[in-house]
Structure formats: structure tokens, C-alpha cells
């Protein structure tokens, strides 16, 4: 009987092998910058924050002053940080501004302004992220929802549900987080207003209510409901109300992510076998399958510039792929294994992802990952504010 089971599973195992696309890792030239010690009593801490932000940006490399092309300096003021970036060859400052906020926040804003001055694209150091963190095991396992800065600092527990929380996602303006939890015994969808800390249950239909994502304008949620007897994709008002059904298949639909113009949704369906990615008009219509050349692809995330879709590839041991929509080409952008749940930062180049229970920032151009330190265990499903 044991042998029978193994033989029965064999064709399925073979079926799930991946025809991996070619891994393209581009080496990008980094701009050498020097960071002079920031003045003020919180200066040393801010200097380290700035250095880490710049190194994580993928754009700069922090070097000693004699090797630098740009020199950064600043001082902590009562209201924030006054920062300057000047070319070492002389000439006008590319950044010369006072950034508001506590020293950490103001330093992140300074780093983002430097990156924008050097590349034309804002950095993501001032972004935040939300994620789930698990503790306990088996029947006692709980997953609570957290928010933190994108460098791991200022981690704050949002929920105390003592149940399984999943898939937190920010609204575009980062004022709200939507997630699902089985705290009622069934899996419902909740919206937390981060300002007032008020939580509202927005979807509690019979069966499962999960995987919700805010539309770019914040008015609508796309999510998976099983109320009609099968996990299907729906949209509904973000404040709750009557859902509109988008899919009708024999399989499983999950993980919707909106195009930045709100016109389309990319999602996962296993209608034709192992899970793959599809795009559908947000008002319903004919789904188009994306050929990623990988099998078992899930968790799509549409980039803020609208050009790319990042996703998880489970068949290769946990890698991240990126699909270029206009070129209709996919590539694997990660090294190593155990990576899942990619979420684009605002530059449409870096992703946050989870890797074996840790959170990482992944540069899709180089494949480099930077671990995001925190004191929490089993971190999953990170999502960034943009």
C-alpha cells in the first residue's frame, strides 16, 4: 500500500517540475558617497541609519571621503534634520533641505531625497511595512499582525487576536491595513484604521473571506470569498457591502493585486493544474494567463510603475520571479531559496519578501538580499507602504 501511494504520487511530482527561465542578474554601477558624522546628540545613531539606508538603496555605496563622488553631511535640529549632499568635485548641492520628524524619520527622508537626486526615483527608506508573525505551534499557533519601518525599527503589534492572522496589506495612502483572521472562529476580513486604531469587520460571509487588497483609490477591495460554495474572486466596497463576483471556475482563486490604474487585477488560479497567474479586468471579463515558464507560481504583486509583476515560485524551493508585462517575459530575480511573498517598494525595483521566517529587502536588478532585523519569529507575508 505504501508503494502504491508512492507510485500514485509520482506523476504529480514529475508534473510539478519547473522549466526555469534564464536567471538574468544585472550588475548595476553604484554611486560612491561618503557620510560625514551627523551633528547633534542623536547624530551618531542617525549617521548609522543614513549609512544603512544608502547601502540598502541599491543606488549608493558608502565609502571613505577620499573615494567618494558625493559627500553627505547633516545635523539634527529640534524639528528634524538639516541635510546636504554636495559633489566632491565642487558645484551646487544636489540636496540642501531640512527634513521634518523625529531623528530616525527625518534621516530616512534625507536618504530618500539623496537617492532621488542621484537617480530621479525616490528611495524607499521612509516606507513602512506590515507583516504577520507567528508564535506557538500546532493547535496553539497564533499569527498576529505587525507594522514596522522598512529597516525593521519601530515594530509595533497591531492585533491581539490570539488567532491566525493573514495577508496584511496597506491602502495606497498607508492610512489603513486590511487583513484576515479567524478570531470569530471563521475567516473574516478586517480593516484597521492606523490613525484611530479602530478596527472594522468588512467581510464575514459564510465560508472564507481572505486575501483582500485595496484598489489604488482605496474605495474597493478585491478578495477571495467561498460563500457561493467555491473559493472565487470578488470585489466589494472597502467599507463592506455586497460583493461582485469576478471568476467562475472549478479551481481555486486567490491573491488578487491591482494594477496601479485600478483597471485590472492579477491573481492566482489553479483551474488548469498547478497554480499560475492570470490578469482580469477589475469589473470582470475574460482572464488572460501569464506565461511565466515556471510552475506553482503564486502571490503576484503589481509594481507601482505598472510594468512588472513579482511572484513566488514554489517549485524551485522558494524563489521570486518578475514578469515584464509589455515584453511578456519572465525572469527569476532571487538567489538562494526559501523566498516568498514579494511586495514592491515604491521604486519598482526593490521588493520586500520573507525568507525562511525572516524579512528581507531584495534588489531585483542584482539579486542581492538585505535582511531586515527584528526580534519576532516566523515573519510572513510582508507588504510595503508606497
Amino acid at each position: 500500500m505504501r508503494l502504491l501511494t508512492i507510485l500514485l504520487l509520482l506523476p504529480l511530482t514529475l508534473h510539478s517540475q519547473t522549466a526555469a527561465p534564464v536567471i538574468v542578474i544585472e550588475q548595476t554601477r553604484k554611486i560612491d558617497v561618503a557620510v560625514q558624522p551627523i551633528g547633534g546628540s542623536e547624530g551618531p545613531a542617525a549617521t548609522k541609519v543614513l549609512t544603512d539606508d544608502l547601502n540598502r538603496s541599491g543606488v549608493c555605496r558608502v565609502v571613505p571621503a577620499d573615494a567618494a563622488v558625493f559627500v553627505l553631511s547633516g545635523s539634527i535640529t529640534p524639528s528634524g534634520l538639516s541635510g546636504r549632499a554636495v559633489p566632491k568635485s565642487g558645484g551646487a548641492a544636489v540636496v540642501d533641505k531640512t527634513f521634518a520628524g523625529d531623528s530616525r524619520r527625518a534621516t530616512h527622508l534625507f536618504a530618500d531625497a539623496v537617492v532621488e537626486a542621484l537617480t530621479g526615483t525616490p528611495g524607499f527608506a521612509s516606507s513602512r511595512m506590515t507583516f504577520a508573525s507567528a508564535s506557538g505551534s500546532k493547535k496553539t499557533k497564533v499569527k498576529e499582525i505587525y507594522v514596522s519601518d522598512i529597516d525593521g525599527a519601530n515594530a509595533r503589534q497591531l492585533t491581539q487576536d490570539k488567532s491566525l492572522g493573514y495577508g496584511p496589506k496597506f491602502s495606497t495612502d498607508a492610512s489603513k491595513v486590511v487583513y484576515s483572521s479567524d478570531k470569530s472562529g471563521y475567516r473574516d476580513t478586517y480593516v484597521i484604521d492606523l490613525g484611530s486604531k479602530k478596527r472594522t469587520c468588512v467581510a464575514q460571509f459564510p465560508g472564507q473571506n481572505t486575501g483582500a487588497a485595496f484598489s489604488p483609490d482605496g474605495s474597493t477591495l478585491a478578495l477571495t470569498l467561498s460563500k457561493d460554495g467555491n473559493p472565487e474572486l470578488y470585489t466589494m466596497a472597502a467599507t463592506g457591502g455586497s460583493p461582485t463576483r469576478l471568476t467562475r471556475t472549478r479551481g481555486v482563486e486567490a491573491s488578487p493585486s491591482w494594477s496601479p490604474d485600478g483597471a485590472q487585477v492579477v491573481y492566482v488560479s489553479d483551474e488548469r493544474g498547478s497554480p499560475s497567474l492570470y490578469i482580469l479586468p477589475a469589473t470582470g471579463g475574460e482572464p488572460e494567463r501569464l506565461n511565466t515558464e515556471s510552475s506553482y507560481t503564486t502571490e503576484p504583486d503589481w509594481s507601482p510603475d505598472g510594468k512588472l509583476i513579482a511572484y513566488s515560485i514554489s517549485s524551485g524551493g522558494g524563489q521570486i520571479g518578475v514578469y515584464d508585462i509589455s515584453a511578456k517575459k519572465a525572469r527569476i530575480v532571487s538567489r538562494g531559496s526559501g523566498l516568498e511573498s514579494p511586495s514592491w517598494t515604491r521604486n519598482s525595483r526593490h521588493l520586500v519578501a520573507s525568507q525562511n521566517g525572516h524579512l528581507v529587502v531584495l534588489d531585483t536588478l542584482t539579486g542581492e538580499t538585505t535582511k531586515v532585523p527584528n526580534n519576532l519569529s516566523n515573519n510572513t507575508e510582508p507588504n510595503t507602504s508606497r
Binding site: 507510485l7 505551534s137 500546532k138 459564510p206 465560508g207 467561498s226 467555491n230 486567490a254 497554480p275
Partner: protein
């Protein structure tokens, strides 16, 4: 005689491969193969799946192949027994708790586990059970029966367990 079992095995393997490919839940076995059979609206919620009695009907737990919600032939006698139990206890409400193994990603596993429970529910409705007494919950990979990454743990964890709501 020596070769007969192997022959049978390969036939079964082929059937199983096909069934997985086009992902027909076995509800299609009930004659009319329209998609409508997959629309079996769930009843209003009752009871709390956290406190359901999963012991009484433990031997009716249905197991699944990797990334599949197909109810395999060897699992069907359990559902015949369960349908029989439901017809003898017409006022009993049960919840079918779906689960996956730890491979794959969280949201897809949630949906797949829910699909396993709705597939069992549809099958029971096909056997004459009252759908109004059958609720579903999907726990994804986070309520494993066995811990670990071994094949036997994976096999134990890909399941749908009927619990009596109280």
C-alpha cells in the same frame, strides 16, 4: 499474477495524473457536469469551528494528494459513511475543516484548504446530504496534524476533517 498489481498501479497512476490535470472535483461524478454543481452556496454560520468535536468523526477524515482537491476513490467509502451519519442525524450541523501541507504559500494554501472542504461538502451534497447543515473552514498550513517536513507529515496534513458543531 506477479505483474497484475503493477499493471493496476500504472492504470491508477495514469487516472490520478489526468484527474489532477483538469482539476475536476469529483462532484462531476454525479452525472450533470455543468459548472453549476460547484455553486452550492454555504449556509449562514453556526457554531464555532474552534470548539467543534473533531473526535467523533475522526475516522472519516479525507486525505488528498499534493496540490489536489480531488477526492480519490480510496477516500470515498469514508464519505459514504459520513453521508449515512448525516442522514441518521438530520439536525446535526458539521463543519469540514480543510488543511494543506506546509509547502506552497500562505494565501494559496488558505484557498486550497477551503477548496478541499468545499469539495468534500459538494460530494456529500451529491450523496443527498443537506448542504444547509454543512459549513466549511480552511486553515491552510497552520493547523498541521503532524509537524515537520517529512513526506509522512505532508501526507498526514493534506486533509479535510469533519467536526460536529455544538
Amino acid at each position: 499474477m506477479k505483474y497484475l498489481p503493477l499493471f493496476l498501479v500504472s492504470i491508477l497512476a495514469i487516472l490520478s495524473g489526468c484527474a489532477d490535470k483538469d482539476k475536476k472535483g469529483d462532484a462531476a461524478a454525479f452525472g450533470d457536469a455543468t459548472d453549476d454543481i460547484y455553486d452550492q452556496p454555504l449556509p449562514e454560520r453556526s457554531g464555532n469551528p474552534d470548539n467543534a468535536d473533531y473526535e467523533t468523526l475522526r475516522s472519516e477524515t479525507v486525505y488528498f494528494a499534493y496540490d489536489s482537491f480531488t477526492i480519490e476513490a480510496k477516500e470515498r467509502p469514508k464519505l459514504d459513511k459520513l453521508a449515512n451519519y448525516l442522514s441518521n442525524n438530520p439536525n446535526t450541523k458539521i463543519v469540514i475543516a480543510g488543511h494543506t501541507d506546509v509547502r506552497g504559500t500562505p494565501q494559496y494554501n488558505l484557498a486550497l484548504s477551503e477548496k478541499r472542504s468545499t469539495a468534500v461538502r459538494q460530494y456529500l451534497i451529491g450523496l443527498g446530504a443537506n448542504g444547509g447543515n454543512l459549513s466549511t473552514i480552511g486553515y491552510g498550513e497552520d493547523r498541521p496534524a503532524s509537524e515537520g517536513e517529512s513526506d509522512s507529515a505532508h501526507t498526514d496534513n493534506r486533509r479535510a476533517s469533519p467536526g460536529i458543531l455544538r
